[in-house]
């Protein structure tokens, strides 16, 4: 910290309920409105910033010291950053790590992200916890009464709209594996690159398809398996994608879904989803695998959940539940060789304890191939 030399610019966070936080600006300057969410992950901010599921959201880190190990480009989970804004208590100006290529301030500037720091992030978290996810605005403008009145209108009117098309690839992209054994179609709703890496690592040639790929295109591609990725926003907003999945179910192609992919397949099978009060975001969420009677620590980032009771018995059953709030964390389908999870077995960031699910997917493709 350069004491007394060049004071940082003041910036404010205005919440939809009228609460104002005074902090300082970092990253890009300017004004942005978004849905404010918090993540309790203590490491993995570069992964968080590049996770497309955060599209349209202003992300708050509950861990106060962010940027300690800098950024390196290698740990990015997509090609850029789509978060609307970024709030931390403190960002590290002198990071330390052998892979460090720059600091977080520079990263935000490079990716055009407006940042706010030096606020009581715990207070902000508690507000969101109590009142639920809320919209907010980061601005450098002095929050006068007049300004607030106008700003609040815009803040309250904000909605994360159809974010999936913004973050999905436009054309299919191939990612071949060395000595590939399987061909996987990864439908991209805003996928984290580690999903692909985990598959490629296990000998899958992965082709990433856009969210609006048709069932016919997939059938023509004739994959050994379908990977449904994570992604941002309200699952109900994705009618096209849901339809595609509905058409694919009878094809009996081994399918593995993560996060939004999990929700979309559930909806395609007739289940419903619900918006959680403030979601699950972090790297410490316990998930119980009902069949195994084992609880695993998982990485999570979602604001919606499949309603457990809504999963049609003829389609499948809930296979995983959240250890804290008992919400649905996974579905095992009986009408197709498919299973999906709400959490992130690909980790990055977060615990790798459920990476075995990728092995399970491979096993499913192998079995299907043989029969």
């Amino acid at each position: 910290m350069s004491f007394g030399i060049g004071a940082e610019r003041t910036a404010y966070l205005i919440l939809a309920d009228g609460t104002v936080f005074k902090g300082k600006s970092f990253g890009c300057e300017g004004e942005v409105i978004g849905e404010i969410v918090f993540t309790t992950a203590m490491t993995g901010y570069e992964e968080t910033l590049t996770d497309p599921s955060y599209c349209g959201q202003i992300v708050t880190q509950t861990f106060p010291l962010i940027g300690n190990y800098g950024v390196n480009g290698e740990d990015m989970e997509s090609d850029g950053s789509v978060v609307s804004g970024y709030i931390v208590r403190e960002h590290c100006k002198a990071p330390s790590n052998f892979r460090c290529e720059g600091d977080i301030d520079g990263f935000l500037k490079k990716h055009g992200i407006i940042g706010l720091y030096d606020i009581d992030t715990r207070r902000l978290t508690r507000i969101i916890r109590e009142t639920g996810v809320m919209n907010g605005m980061i601005t450098q403008a002095e929050p006068t009464d007049e300004f607030l009145t106008r700003a609040l209108e815009r803040i309250r009117a904000y909605r994360v709209e159809a974010p999936v098309p913004k973050v999905s690839v436009k054309q299919p992209v191939d990612f071949p594996a060395d000595s590939a054994k399987y061909k996987v179609a990864l439908i991209d709703y805003g996928y984290k690159h580690n999903i692909r890496r985990e598959l490629v690592k296990r000998g899958c040639d992965v082709t990433v398809f856009p969210y609006n790929v048709t069932a016919q295109q997939i059938k023509d591609f004739a994959p050994d398996g379908i990977m449904l990725s994570n992604g941002p926003g309200d699952p109900q907003d994705n009618a096209v994608s849901i339809n595609t999945l509905r058409e694919l179910i009878p094809e009996q192609i081994p399918t593995f879904g993560i996060c939004l992919g999990h929700q979309l397949l559930a909806i395609a099978n007739g289940a419903t989803t619900v918006k959680l009060k403030y979601g699950h975001r972090g790297g410490n969420q316990p998930v119980t695998d009902i069949d195994e009677d084992r609880t695993f620590i998982t990485s999570q980032n979602h604001g919606y959940a499949v309603v457990s009771e809504s999963v049609p018995p003829q389609a499948g059953r809930v296979s995983h539940i959240n250890g804290n709030d008992k919400t649905c964390e996974g579905v095992k389908y009986t009408n197709a060789p498919a299973f999906t999870v709400q959490f992130h077995p690909e980790a990055c960031g977060g615990p790798q304890d459920t990476a075995y699910l990728f092995d399970k997917f491979i096993g499913m493709m192998e079995k299907n191939k043989r029969s």
Binding site: G4, G44, T62, S96, N97, F98, R122, N284, P286
Partner: protein
């Protein structure tokens, strides 16, 4: 899986006396374990030789044995109690080793006792170096290239293969005792020889040195289903090479990217799965700073110091959860007590950072080497919580009680840049302060990192603090500067001192701290944990909590005793906890404030609320502003809490119990002298002085020997007996090197019988639960003396005098609560040496053996009850049927260059108790519990000062009669031979001839050394070398003829464990 139906009665083994490497953290763990077991309705049998602990308290277990922790004793208790299970993982290394021995011998199987927590195979895999390495290899976890050897020759051979430097790690030793880093074959020869001897199985590991790698720890928990979680990661400020117990540690790890973090986390989970631990486990890793290469350094399949720290750092009660797992529960069945709505099967998320800072005993041991290595030296530690590393670090420095409020060390200010550069190379206790000094002088981060290998992140954070201080010192003090300094928790006083300006004159708007909750989940769930830390931020959650939990109870703050150090140990935690319990029982709301992560007092459910914060004036101000208590209790938190008294009173806080004036009257020499005169009580003549000149004048006036000590100290810190002017000069030079706020006291030294009394007074009546007599005559610090209850040699008249004096003093001082008085009986005359109107280190043991719950009674008195109303009459409490002997325990093996000669300065780190129907048996048990092997034959070496010579004739004769071979240096030998006691002659060390004392000690013929000397404590002296050699060779060395006399009497009894009655203290 619920509670196992085959478990009904569990034996819990405690960790015994406090030594370096095994301290209060096991009282915390053991207490949690006992409570968890009792909550499950199980019958709990406890064995622990440490009487100062909470876990040995009556309501902690159904049967409590304060007996020596030896294999024979544990076997005997198992035979008596017939438990169906034994919990191995909560009693530190002591408990684990004993459990393993019992299992390996087949004793547990024969007696149908199940081993809970870790099975023998797990313990073997984790503890046996080779088995550990093989296990790690089998699961693909990398270890440092190493080899187990059983001879020095093999050690040397292997070192040639892997190259120097190498680390030597003895198997099965505490806190790495006997280990070290060898840079050369010569070093290795010495360290390996020592290590092999100290290892109970004569094995050491020779390992490639990876000094400078990052040291990362994970606390992991596993249940029988195979569910695994990590509770906390920790990163050491000091890279590999410094024992983690001696490192500044932060939680969570801060310099690891998610990739490295998850790599190590996954490794930790793989390890605990492979070891099949059912409970807690600590995994230590070394991570190469410039790659993903890592090595597993160590795994402890039990709760540990680190798990206590992790529990306090996160709010996750590891020991409690581990205990439940041991008796059958799985992680997903155990409720997270903090949130009350989630389960123990999750990983805590922190929204603050924790700094642990070690407390070393070097303020006491001025001649000891302050360098740090693989051998732990710290006696205790503090923890500080902040929202930034800088804030936590400044809080840590203020908590550690070195008289510092920033990282700037006074002695470094005058060094030249070159000297600072040189000093940076030292891996010692002052390293963080030296880095800070270098930063202030503008040294580059690169240079500091290169020299120290401390990670750039830490150095840059310290630079922020250095820059802030330079900014404060430069120019006018502004609100902006003040706010910036407050953010890092600089006290107002410090800001004024650094800036040289007054806050009020500059019109600065000052502020108090606010409090945030430790809730295990970074605010994701609402929690009801009454566990807070201060910070300078917007929202005050404690205030909110208080307003949401309104009560009409009297709210009382109890101040704890801070870090464990020599002289202020676990006893004060016992007292603080008991005070809280009594307050709760009385219908008060009890609020605890302390900063020691190892203790029961800082368990969040001990008090109604816990504040984890420094115990300094300004910190207390903020706390008072938030809590607005009815009153505060200071008399149970040792000197740490007592120091707050004056300030609390000045700020209008009601002090419960003895007033600030009375405390001052006991500590202020002149006021105290007046008081004694009024009471007609004699004390050894004495003066107070500030300078060396005054000291010399006073000493000569009184006549040597004289006792020198600073006022306002505990544990006889910096206390010596001076025999001549040069002793006074040496002492005053050391004591005046730090700021002298209070005078030095000089007293005539009377070598009589020392007697100690703890009394309770309600202003009208007084109660003495028991009179304790010390085996060693005055001159040996009371904490280092063997203390006997009830007194064995005092005449009725002397006892009556002591009772009378105690009454007079207690009343004259208006004691409301506890008072500790030390007397010396000299020529049939009783003199007062010291009066402390507060709790003392003998309170727990006297409470336990007399059944008089002193702290509870005193607390009730503070709230207005009387002794009478509690059913006690005035005077001496009737003597019970048991004799209790408290024997001090030292950690000399861990502290090189410390003279083991006992004196007025306290050196012991802990204590053990022996309880029996007779004095002799109690003493025998006490000595055995303190680690004496009680050899009944062998050799004894005498080398005593002239004044002791006449006294050792009888002693030597007693040893001779028992069949011991006697040896002595020239003067002593000829004196003994003249007295017809056959004694072999041996040369002194400096005489340089054979046979000399050192070669004799190395010969293995010697079992006891009796060594007393008149002069100094400098490591170069012959007598000091001999005593150090005894420590290195694990030979019992007695430095007081009185102790030796007691020992020889015990040996002469020719008893074994079979002859001793095991005493369940719940029945006393």
């Amino acid at each position: 899986m619920p509670l196992r139906s085959d478990i009904k009665k569990v034996l819990v083994i405690g960790s015994g006396p406090i030594v370096i490497g095994q301290a209060a953290e096991f009282d915390y763990a053991g207490t949690q374990a006992c409570r968890a077991l009792k909550q499950e309705g199980l019958e709990v049998v406890l064995i622990n030789s440490n009487p100062a602990t909470i876990m040995t308290d009556k309501h902690m277990a159904d049967k409590i044995y304060i007996e020596p922790l030896t294999l024979d004793v544990v076997k005997k208790i198992i035979k008596i109690e017939k438990p169906d299970s034994i919990l191995s993982t909560l009693g530190g290394q002591t408990g684990l080793t004993l459990s393993m021995q019992l299992a390996e011998e087949g004793f547990l199987a024969e007696n149908n006792v199940k081993l809970l927590g870790a099975n023998p195979e797990t313990i073997h895999k984790a503890e046996d170096r080779q088995a550990f390495k093989d296990t790690m290899e089998s699961i693909g976890e990398p270890c440092v290239p190493s080899q187990v050897v059983e001879t020095v020759e093999d050690a040397m051979k292997f070192a040639e293969v892997i190259g120097y430097p190498v680390i030597v790690r003895p198997a099965f030793t505490l806190g790495g005792t006997g280990g070290g880093i060898a840079d050369t074959p010569e070093d290795l020869h010495e360290i390996a020889t020592n290590g092999l001897r100290l290892s109970p199985i004569n094995q050491v590991l020779i390992e490639k040195c990876i000094s400078g790698w990052k040291e990362i720890e994970f606390e992991v928990i596993r249940d029988a289903k195979g569910n695994v979680i990590t509770v906390c990661s920790m990163e050491n400020f000091d890279p590999v090479g410094v024992h983690t117990g001696d490192s500044i540690v932060v939680a969570p790890a801060v310099t690891l990217a998610d990739k490295e973090y998850q790599m190590l986390r996954t490794a930790a989970l793989n390890i605990i799965q492979a070891l099949k631990v059912e409970g807690g486990c600590n995994c230590q890793f070394a991570l190469k700073p410039d790659s993903f290469e890592y090595s597993v350094i160590e795994v402890n399949p039990r709760v540990s110091r680190s798990s206590a720290l992790a529990s306090k750092a996160t709010g996750y009660p590891i020991a409690k959860v581990a205990t439940r797992i041991a008796i059958g529960y799985s992680l997903d069945e155990i409720i997270n007590q903090v949130t009350g709505k989630t389960y123990a099967c999750f990983e805590p998320a922190l929204d603050y950072i924790v700094v642990k800072f070690p407390k070393w005993p070097f303020d006491k041991f001025v001649y000891a080497k302050k360098t740090l290595g693989t051998q732990m030296k710290a006696t205790g530690e503090i923890m500080a919580i902040g929202t930034s590393f800088e804030e936590a670090m400044i809080k840590a420095v203020r908590s550690i009680e070195l008289g510092m409020d920033t990282l700037r060390k006074k002695t470094f200010i005058t060094l030249t840049d070159e000297q600072v550069r040189e000093k940076l190379k030292d891996v010692d206790v002052d390293r963080s302060f030296c880095i800070f000094e270098a930063l202030r002088r503008g040294f580059s981060t690169e240079e500091i990192c290169r020299i120290t290998t401390v990670d750039k992140w830490f150095v840059e954070k310290l630079r922020n603090l250095a820059n802030l201080e330079l900014w404060l010192e430069d120019g006018e003090l502004t609100q902006e500067k003040y706010d910036a300094a407050k953010k890092y928790s600089y006290p107002d006083k410090t800001i004024e001192r650094l800036s040289g300006q007054s806050l009020s004159e500059k019109g600065i708007k000052t502020r108090h701290a606010v409090y945030k909750m430790v809730d295990t989940c970074a605010a994701e769930f609402s929690a009801d944990t009454p566990y807070f830390y201060s910070t300078y931020d917007e929202e005050n959650e404690a205030e909110e909590f208080i307003s949401q939990h309104p009560t009409d109870k009297k709210k009382i703050i109890v101040f704890g005793s801070g870090p464990i150090r020599i002289g202020q140990g676990i006893e004060f935690d016992y007292c603080s906890v008991h005070c809280v319990w009594a307050l709760k029982e009385m219908g008060c709301e009890a609020v605890l404030c302390n900063n020691n992560p190892e203790t029961v007092s800082t368990d969040f459910d001990t008090g109604d609320r816990l504040y984890f914060d420094p115990l300094t004036n300004e910190d207390v101000d903020s706390l008072i502003a938030t809590e607005k208590p009815y009153g505060a209790v200071v008399q149970f938190g040792g000197q740490t809490a007592i120091k707050l008294t004056k300030h609390l009173q000045e700020t209008g806080v009601r002090i419960l119990g003895t007033s600030a004036e009375s405390i001052d009257a006991a500590e202020d020499r002149e006021k105290f002298d007046e008081l004694l005169e009024q009471c007609g009580i004699p004390r050894p003549a004495g003066h107070t002085v500030f300078t060396t000149e005054e000291a010399l004048k006073a000493a000569n006036e009184l006549g040597y020997p004289v006792l020198l000590r600073p006022s306002y100290v505990l544990g006889g810190q910096n206390m010596i007996i001076a025999h001549c002017d040069s002793d006074v000069n040496e002492y005053m030079a050391i004591i005046t090197s730090t700021e002298l706020e209070n005078p030095v006291l000089i007293d005539k030294y009377l070598m009589g019988t020392e007697v100690e009394v703890d009394a309770i007074c309600d202003g009208t009546d007084f109660l003495i639960p028991g009179i304790m007599e010390h085996i060693e005559r005055a001159g040996v610090h009371s904490g280092d003396s063997i203390s006997v209850y009830p007194a064995q040699t005092l005449s009725e008249k002397i006892k009556a005098t002591i009772i009378t004096y105690t009454e007079r003093l207690a009343k004259a001082l208006n004691v409301i609560g506890l008072v500790n008085i030390q007397y010396v009986v000299y020529d049939n005359e009783v003199y007062v040496i010291e009066v402390n109107p507060r709790s003392s280190r003998t309170v727990p043991y006297i409470s336990k053996v007399t059944g008089v719950q002193m702290v509870d009674i005193a607390t009730k008195i503070m709230l207005g009850e009387s002794l009478k109303s509690q059913g006690f009459s005035s005077g001496l409490y009737p003597v019970g049927e048991y004799v209790a002997v408290k024997v001090p325990v030292f950690s000399f093996e861990k502290l090189h260059d410390v003279d083991t000669q006992l004196g007025p300065e306290m050196k012991s780190t802990g204590e053990a108790l022996g309880i029996a129907k007779t004095f002799e048996e109690a003493l025998y048990k006490g000595l055995m519990a303190a680690g004496f092997k009680m050899y009944k034959k062998g050799g004894v070496v005498f080398s005593v000062k002239n004044s002791d010579k006449p006294e050792i004739i009888e002693l030597a004769s007693a040893f001779e009669k028992l069949g011991f071979e006697l040896y002595a240096t020239s003067g002593t030998a000829s004196m003994l031979n003249r007295n017809m006691i056959a004694t072999n002659f041996t040369y002194r060390i400096h005489e340089g001839k054979e046979p000399n004392v050192i070669s004799l000690l190395e010969s293995g013929k010697i079992n006891y050394v009796i060594s007393t000397s008149e002069t100094g404590r400098k490591p170069a002296l012959d007598s000091v070398k001999m005593r150090r050699k005894s420590v290195e060779r694990s030979i019992a060395c007695l430095t007081s003829v009185d102790t030796a006399n007691a020992l020889v009497k015990c040996i002469a009894m020719d008893k074994t464990v079979d002859d001793l009655e095991m005493v369940d203290i719940t029945k006393i």
